[in-house]
């Protein structure tokens, strides 16, 4: 197990390195213009552009710049370790920006993931158990709605109803939990619900299908024949086996949302990592883009590792050597 873990971690580091390399390559090679132009005013001169290239470390070939980036990352910079540099636009260190914005995204993901896992699996189980009843149809109707409704639309509708009309929630923006859990919760509940809608729907459908398939297996019939309670049959034998694909999906979904909850973050003005990534990409703020890519790639690699470990606990047939 230990050797397996070490091997996986090394692979994860390599994957993150390759992702960063590709990001660097794309940034330098795609014809999206010279970032120095942003800082050279309306009427730049070649000398001015040269000066800015030098200042932003854009005056050397991209592979040498990548070498500098790796070196600074490993050895640290004026802001400590790891060395991620500073934003071209705000002059704030990338690390401080990530630390400032990450809680918003992580709380968003944590709350939404809790909701979609809880409700998605519960609705899926309910639907499977109550197959072909009104409950099942309602549940699957909800799933269809959840999958079809775009997040931005749901977000705007939710804001209109629960914030503007009913005044039940605090509306857009983010309040740190330290400034009051009630305020924090009131700001987060709508983003959680809206973000989780799509995933709840997907997880409900998936759980239902997996559970129905599992409940048709021979060992379930054996369990029932042995006289086990239906609750034990469903939760102990049926659901457990049905959850392995859910766990895989959950791990990836959570990891991808680290940099990918852009629409939710924008609609609810949370200004988390995803929002920062898209903003920085449009402003050609390479250090910030690299910082967010690093976070996302690390999250994906880490969650994959977690998923593999959880697999072993869920499915005794899986063993690592």
């Amino acid at each position: 197990m230990l050797i397996y873990l070490v091997r996986r971690i090394l692979w994860a580091i390599l994957v993150v390195f390759v992702v960063l390399f590709i990001t660097f390559l794309v940034f330098f090679k795609l014809p999206n213009g010279d970032p120095a132009l942003r800082f050279a005013g309306k009427t730049p001169t070649p000398a001015m552009l040269d000066e800015i290239h030098h200042r932003l470390h854009l005056d050397k070939p991209w592979y040498i710049e990548f070498g500098y980036f790796v070196k600074t990352f490993a050895t640290g910079d004026q802001y400590g370790w790891p060395g991620l540099g500073y934003s071209y636009n705000s002059f704030a260190s990338v690390k401080s920006q990530i630390v400032y914005r990450a809680p918003r995204t992580l709380w968003l993901i944590a709350g939404a993931a809790t909701l979609w896992l809880t409700f998605g699996v519960a609705i899926g189980v309910l639907s499977a158990v109550k197959r072909r009843t009104l409950v099942d149809r309602l549940a699957m109707g909800f799933a269809l709605f959840g999958i079809s409704a775009p997040v931005f639309w749901l977000g705007l509708i939710a804001l209109y109803i629960f914030w503007r009309t009913l005044h039940w929630t605090a509306g857009t923006g983010y309040t740190p939990i330290a400034q009051g859990p009630g305020q924090w919760f009131s700001h987060m509940i709508l983003p959680w619900v809206v973000l989780s809608m799509l995933y709840t729907a997907i997880y409900a459908r998936m759980t239902r299908n997996n559970l129905l398939e599992t409940l048709g297996e021979d060992y379930i019939r054996t369990a029932r024949a042995k006289g086990l309670s239906e609750r034990r049959v469903i939760f102990r034998h049926g659901l457990r086996a049905s959850l392995t694909p859910i766990v895989t999906l959950f791990g990836l979904d959570v990891a991808l949302l680290v940099g990918g909850a852009i629409i939710t973050e924008s609609v609810f003005n949370l200004q988390g990592l995803g929002w920062m990534a898209i903003n920085s990409a449009t402003q050609q703020d390479l250090p910030i883009v690299l910082g967010v890519v690093l976070c996302t790639a690390t999250a994906v690699a880490f969650m994959n590792l977690v998923v593999d470990i959880v697999y072993a606990f869920l499915d005794p047939r899986v063993r690592y050597s």
Partner: protein, 605 residues
Amino acid sequence: MKRTTRRLATALLVVAVGAVVLVAAGSGSRAKSQVSAGGTYKVGWEQSFGFTDNMDPVGEYLAEGFAIQTSLLDRTLVGYNHVPGAAGNKIVPDIATAVPTPTNGGKTYTFHIKQGVKFGPPVNRQVTSADFLNEMKRLASPKDGQEYGFYYNVIKGFASGKGKTISGISTPNASTIVFNLTQPTGDFLYRMSMGATSPQPAEVTKCFEGQAGKYGNDLISTGPYMIQGIDKVDISDCSKITAASGYDGTSKMILVRNPNYDPKTDSTAARQNFPDEFDFLIDANKDDIYSKVAAGEFQDEISSPPGQVLEKYYTSHSPLLKQYSGDRTWYLTMNLTAPPFDDVHVRKAFNFIMNKNALVQAWGGPAIGKVAHHIVPDTLFNNQLAEYNPFATPGDKGSLSKAKAAMKGSKYDTKGNGTCSASACHNVYLLADTRGQDLKMVPVIEADAKKIGITFKVHSINGAYPTLQTPSKNVPIGERPGWGKDYADPLTFFTPLFDGRNIIPNGNTNYSLVGITPAQCKTLKVKGNCTNVPSVNSQLDKCSVLIGQPRLTCYENLDKYLTGTVVPWVPYLWSTATHIIAPNVTQWSFDQFSGSTGYAHVAVK
């Protein structure tokens, strides 16, 4: 089975009820936006500040940055009253005791500094002439991020001193500063009203040498407001300086009153300073911004209103919709070296055929601005060219007969029927952007051009400027450009846009390549027809040294010559600057200089 499902359903219900209870608790403790006397003027700023140099005056080139700096933070020797119209473009004394009259044939300007103007915390001392010189040296140092330093090259020794010395500036005493120029410069006082010339204390700026933009986080104030938390910054040692807490560069900029500001050194005509605080807050959601403005949670916005929002305010003639001349021209640019636009007949015909009215509609119609008929907005010429329209057509909708008449004589009119019939007229590269208005404009341009035989191969790029700004790309026609003034002088249009000597390989703003020479074409890898490209360099030199009405007349003639004879553009829109304000704003003003809110005069309930 039944018991299991019932428990599951019960559990779901409990979770849902718990969530509702928590939501209710949260909303109950939610602080409502209550504005007290003095109050806080909150501005919702869409997506990102977009500052070009993080508010460091040396390199800050964003109009909104100008507005905040000159109204609230940084006073200059001379400035503006931050009001709309011609009055807002009039130079008035700020830190200087009076607007100086140039001597020495227009080459020397002597400013005397008012007593009692102090730097805000943590510097807390009188502003002296040395502080102006210090900032001019920073401005002359390329390493410190100058973005419009070229305006000051007329000062003797400005560029050659590399920021170490400037032979043309002398400070005979603490309250006098003298500028000696290499040539008479009619708009020098305008140049001295820019934020980059504001005094900055060397004891702080020395800590940011060579770190362009970083000083913006700790900008020391001379104006009525300062960055929140700047008073807590320790400037006793460079290593101890941290960013002021009120400005993080990415999500908020909070300005509070500067305790060292003495209103007696200022005039209420220039600054009234009603609110106790200004909050500039980034909001990722445009709809959210306008909802909050309507609800009075934001007082103002820096965004662009969605069509339905603008229409609602516009059609109801709402007093909360504020529209003033944006002093900005939007135009189609034609490359004077690229076929078929290397032929002036084609360029003229293209002007006549274009339905400018439809192009303005593509932007949103009259609520956005009015049809442009020449290069510089009328406001900058005091409306003296208001009647000038060399390509007039009924209703600005284009005229096929006039276009065909203009095309006759063109080398591309091979059939002699007034249409562009040569092969160069087909599949011409049209560079477009992908904003909403671009997507609506392109079909109009294509349809109109087709009437005179020109067809396009459209290349739509999200962010077309970098391509347009690279002469070696040989873009025949670009749909994207717009240009706004830096200050109220036509030079800020003509020199950057039409001086052939300023054409550079990357970041070029003379998109039409007016005045390009065959030698430049070779160096810049321009492949088109580079012989006999018309130049206005001599006219530019002639106008720039004039003062007053002769200067204005000179530039008006240049505008006429360019628009009607050289014809590098199809100008189609003079856009308005639009702001939507909250119902609880009790006083609001437009600042004509910056083209934004006159923060010096706003008030909130």
